[in-house]
């Protein structure tokens, strides 16, 4: 669909306040951050050089990428199962799935993080229950480590992973699945060899969105990681607010934004924006 010129001008006018806001509140200040990264404490590429040599920074980067990758696999897998029920289940199943997808949106990310602490801590629900049935004698360390971070982040990100998948599953031609069955393929085989490959664009979109979101997580890893599993956003926070090392914090920010930008470009090569909602 191509609108007329006046249509497009109208749409541009309606978009203008948002664009203006983004420029004033994000782009402009970010240029300041870019400037810091090249000027603080002394002008030059010193901070980027430090970035490449600082072992702490590198280990945080690697941990962030690792956690983001695991969270992506966990979230997309869980979201896929939920979406199949949501899109293709019986009417009752659909309502139930929709409820499970939407309810997390109504609860603040902080509340959810503390909720997981309550569940997973040494004297939390999970450990006391496992001990009471005699499955374990000593409490498991489920929180204030990478495991806790992964659980909390996946829980937050699953609903976001659902939408691109749902869009892909809804646009799938039902007759192709019937054709597979009619040609002798069992339900399982049809699922793996026809259904899953046909929702590939949804999986890519879902994975990239989850991965990009994961890279910038701050609150959840800060609470559930308990300082032992610092991710990149927390590191930036520490550099800027707790050690007067603005230059390095700024340089890490710039690298993160460039990396996320590249991933977004990749995302939009594979999926159209309307498939993400």
């Amino acid at each position: 669909m191509r609108g007329t010129l006046s249509d497009r001008t109208g749409a541009a006018l309606l978009m203008a306040p948002l664009l203006l806001f983004l420029i004033l509140a994000y782009a402009w200040p970010f240029l300041g951050v870019v400037k810091w990264s090249f000027t603080l404490p002394t002008p030059g590429l010193g901070q980027y050089h430090a970035l490449l040599t600082d072992e702490l920074v590198q280990s945080v980067f690697i941990r962030t990428l690792r956690i983001a990758a695991i969270v992506t696999v966990v979230s997309v897998t869980a979201a896929y199962a939920i979406t199949v029920v949501w899109v293709r289940g019986s009417p009752v199943q659909r309502v139930l799935a929709e409820f499970c997808i939407l309810v997390p949106f109504w609860i603040s990310v902080l509340t959810r993080a503390f909720g997981w602490v309550a569940l997973l801590s040494n004297r939390g629900l999970v450990n006391t229950w496992l001990q009471s049935i005699g499955f374990i004698s000593e409490p498991l360390t489920l929180v204030r480590n990478e495991f806790g971070v992964i659980v909390g982040m996946s829980h937050f990100l699953i609903p976001f992973a659902v939408f691109p998948l749902a869009s892909a599953m809804r646009s799938l031609d039902e007759r192709v699945l019937l054709a597979a069955r009619g040609l002798g393929s069992s339900r399982m085989r049809t699922f793996w060899t026809v259904f899953v490959p046909m929702t590939r664009s949804g999986i890519i979109g879902s994975a990239l969105i989850t991965f990009v979101f994961s890279l910038g997580f701050f609150v959840t890893p800060a609470i559930l990681g308990g300082g032992r599993s610092v991710m990149i956003a927390e590191l930036i926070y520490l550099r800027i607010f707790q050690s007067p090392d603005w230059g390095l914090g700024a340089a890490i920010s710039v690298v993160l934004v460039v990396f996320v930008g590249a991933l977004m470009a990749l995302l939009f090569r594979y999926v159209k924006p309307k498939q993400l909602v």
């Binding site: 009619g182 040609l183 002798g184 339900r187």
Partner: protein, 364 residues
């Protein structure tokens, strides 16, 4: 629909299907012979597609039983029936190449790689897709996609091939070509073909038998010329092609047929009048009527005036009004139509006794 390579014989016994309060199919009993080409013909919503889906196993009938080679398959799931099926819009696997699409049913059946390779190759050759093996469906034309769908449905030698309006998306010239190709595939494979369409000319051209559906009911089954020349009722007569309907009065049996009064003239019919007595409808196809300057007393004929003509190239369609106001259409040679129109006055419509047939008055 079990033994590969062997055409199936299917019996439908009292099949019915309701969707809520909607009766999609009502008490359908039909035998489909081994290796026959049966067309299910009817308007949309007539139940023909529902019956095809029941044959495929995608829809469970509300009542009745279905037998294949004498075995009750009513409750057998679609994947175990393994009828070949060609869908409207083809339903090819978009993420698989032509080759992979055709190999799919063989892979499902765990055939050896060597066998899959040789049979897929053979099938690709047979449907004329050589050189397109590695392409994806989206890179093919409509006709080529159609061939992939046919090849995929036939490669595992199913006992029956089900086709759901496979040509509806093709343009007219391609349609003719694909119809010829399908007829050839039917002869080559010897498989039972069940074909759904709403296009009566397609049905008459392709099938060994035609089954005509309306409002969920099977109205008539027969060879194309049987249903065309001797339709069981008015719906079938009209659905299979243009037809003239003239009221006849006082129908009674006569020497080798029946006789009655049409527009106050005695007319003879070759069909039997046992089922129909008194008032009835006389139905005659446009191509079976001719224009004459006059009609003798022992010839079937009524007087009419030509009102309009449509030039169709090979012939002209001429519209006439009879004395009692009935509208009649005939298909006549071009010069005959021109002469009839230029005269501007009365001509005679005549037809041979064996070409007119009686239908019950008013009813369907």
């Amino acid at each position: 629909m079990q033994q590969p390579g062997r055409a199936a014989e299917i019996k439908a016994n009292g099949i019915g299907k309701s969707f809520g309060s909607f009766r999609a199919l009502d008490n359908l009993t039909l035998d489909i012979g081994r290796g026959e080409f049966l067309t299910l013909l009817g308007p949309s919503g007539s139940g023909k597609t529902t019956f095809l889906m029941i044959l495929a196993g995608f829809v469970q009938p509300s009542e009745g039983r279905l037998f294949s080679d004498g075995v009750d398959i009513t409750n057998r799931p679609a994947e175990q029936r393994a009828a070949g099926m060609v869908f409207q819009g083809y339903a090819l696997f978009p993420h698989m190449s032509v080759e992979q699409n055709i190999a799919f049913p063989l892979k499902v059946r765990k055939k050896s790689a060597a066998e899959i390779k040789s049979r897929v190759g053979e099938m690709i050759e047979r449907v004329g897709l050589k050189g397109h093996e590695k392409k994806l469906p989206a890179q093919l034309s409509g006709g080529q996609q159609q061939r992939v769908a046919l090849a995929r449905a036939l490669v595992f030698e199913p006992g029956v091939l089900l086709l759901d309006e496979p040509f509806s998306a093709l343009d007219k010239s391609l349609r003719g070509q694909m119809q010829a190709e399908m007829k050839r595939l039917h002869q080559e494979t010897g498989t039972t073909f069940v074909f759904v369409t709403h296009d009566q000319s397609e049905a008459l051209a392709l099938s060994s038998r035609v089954a005509i559906f309306n409002h969920g009911k099977l109205l008539q089954v027969g060879k194309p010329d049987e249903v065309y020349d001797r339709p069981a009722n008015r719906f079938v007569a009209e659905f299979l092609g243009e037809i003239n309907m003239l009221p006849v009065k006082g129908v009674r049996p006569a020497d080798n047929g029946a006789t009655g009064l049409c527009e106050d003239r005695a007319v003879n019919m070759r069909c039997k009048a046992e089922a129909i007595k008194g008032d009835a409808i006389l139905a005659i196809r446009p191509e079976d009527m001719s224009i004459a300057p006059e009609a003798s007393a022992n010839q079937n004929g009524i007087a009419a005036t030509a009102v309009a003509s449509t030039y169709l190239g090979a012939a002209t369609k001429l519209d006439l009004t009879t004395r009692q106001g009935a509208r009649v259409t005939v298909s006549v040679p071009n010069e005959v139509a021109a002469a009839a129109l230029s005269k501007g006055n009365s001509v005679w419509l005549t037809w041979p006794a064996e070409k007119g047939f009686l239908l019950p008055d008013g009813g369907q």
